[in-house]
Subunit: 257 residues, 3 copies
Amino acid sequence: MQRPIALFTDFGMAGPYLGQMKAVLAKAVPAAPVIDLMADAPAFDPRASAYLLAALVPEMPERCVVLAVVDPGVGGARRPLVAEADGRFLVGPDNGLFEPLLRRAGQARTWEIRWQPQRLSASFHGRDLFAPIAARLARGDSPEAAGCEAVEPPRLPHWPDDLAEIVYVDHYGNAMTGLRADAVPGTARLRVGEQVLACADTFSAVAPGRAFWYRNSVGLVEIAVNRGRAADALPGLSVGSAVVLERNPDAAAEQNR
Amino acid sequence: MQRPIALFTDFGMAGPYLGQMKAVLAKAVPAAPVIDLMADAPAFDPRASAYLLAALVPEMPERCVVLAVVDPGVGGARRPLVAEADGRFLVGPDNGLFEPLLRRAGQARTWEIRWQPQRLSASFHGRDLFAPIAARLARGDSPEAAGCEAVEPPRLPHWPDDLAEIVYVDHYGNAMTGLRADAVPGTARLRVGEQVLACADTFSAVAPGRAFWYRNSVGLVEIAVNRGRAADALPGLSVGSAVVLERNPDAAAEQNR
Amino acid sequence: MQRPIALFTDFGMAGPYLGQMKAVLAKAVPAAPVIDLMADAPAFDPRASAYLLAALVPEMPERCVVLAVVDPGVGGARRPLVAEADGRFLVGPDNGLFEPLLRRAGQARTWEIRWQPQRLSASFHGRDLFAPIAARLARGDSPEAAGCEAVEPPRLPHWPDDLAEIVYVDHYGNAMTGLRADAVPGTARLRVGEQVLACADTFSAVAPGRAFWYRNSVGLVEIAVNRGRAADALPGLSVGSAVVLERNPDAAAEQNR
């Protein structure tokens, strides 16, 4: 049984990029299920993408190969990487994209891809380098058999455990942060620009038109407006915008007296 | 042989929602074909979506499971439903989404989903509740075996048999109504705002730039402009806009004299 | 083993069109891999689409069936066609869409589709005519067995071998031309409106914000801006815009003295 392959990229659904990557997979492992996880990861932004990816990967099948490409440095010096985190493989650039995921994993190993394809375009390593390696792993080869060499996990110790920024604005205008809701008490307030938002369990617990934060379906703190678009209602709510968590707002108010 | 699964949602192609639903399907029924029917059904609008869905489902494979989620009441009181209509299964919220389909079906049965997943997020029943049930049906389980209980078909008698509103505006700017063309004589006029449109068989039968209505490829009355975008040419043509059918325009003109 | 099927259309990812075509394929050849090559080919523009398609098809699996529909004349007089080019099948309208591909192929044959479906809508031959034929070819039938008759390859001798126009603007704002980079020396300049662009091997070889041309990952001359969007930086850069290749700019400068 071949491993399923999940695709996480900033290539966009439009255009000929995803299709070419899938053609490589269809040639090599035609029976492997391919899951379009998302193709609109924060463009050119491995850091925001990394915190989003870390929240999404646990939703993928357990033996999945995640082909993750947000790679502004393509053609430059960053290494091509394979990682294994709690049974799932990750394939992509060594630019921090796997950092939060590896940090949170119970078991993690990493390899550098030494294999070189016959054709390596300067701009499309997703098709030429990462997809062929993902296909090898999907059909059951070990990273070593696929031409990878074990390396120390790269680490970016200055990156936070949770990112207090917007990492994604969805179709409905809701804005996800890089903060895991498990680490945030329901009494906490979220400051976004001039506004201070309280927590709600569900949309319907809030008056129409009112902004709030809630634990979203992948466990992240997300900003929403009941029957509205948070991204329109709150000025400046876009990928990269900072949010401020006030864990103990009443005490803060107390101290201010 | 597993049943194919067709996805009809308002989740958007972008973002991580379809992908997570597909991951659930890939885990449970990796060999079932998954058809992205559409992901841009009228957002938060089960009524417009319902008339569109009723026109599209007959195009799906005969033993298909249609996973249909347009669900503004997620987390609220609406029931989760399975329906069987002429051999196809439907899985989704009990908010009218299946009303026209069930009304038109030769044979229809309905079940309420009693099964409860271990994790049920407040905002993503598509992934947590409906997709697992769709997977059970796709692999051949009966609704009862999947934890559903037969119930009387819900009915919304005040909904019309055909909806005289725009239910979808496509990529080319064409606007579909919820009216089945079979029930409309070719001599009928369609009034949209100030304009009155005649029927044409094909685009090329009409002068460039001219608006008309025609029977579209799923049998609905659709408004188009030859070599143009109806949605741009006719003001106010968006999902929810009312249209008026004048079945006997010459007689009407006669009476007005 | 069934042939994989690649989809190249101007239907858009949104809406119910791709899904209906895939439903036809899922009914007929449920085990054939389906590759969404692209759904945003230049709309209503078989000529721009043809030069893009010719660059993309070599990336598809060798025994692939390419279902290619950019068909402004649907319902009119253009013939429905099957072509075989170097082992791959193409299915679509006879409107030039396969012209550059057939011209470049080592081995090419063509057939006219004589088979008539029971239902042939006026506006959706992709679903009713081309997809069923693609499915027959994917499961191993010959064109003759699928109801096609060998014809002389249609030819459009007035079309150029390479198209000096923009044929696609991608998600990142990069603009592909219909010019194959193999035929263009790296010393050549590309004139786009008032600007004259030099070649660069990689994005990072160019100052941020600067426009250049390079050989893209499918071998076409593409216009880009390092850390920017070429389509925004260069006025008038859209599908159909002409570009001028100056193969020997220094000699030209010399002559101008």
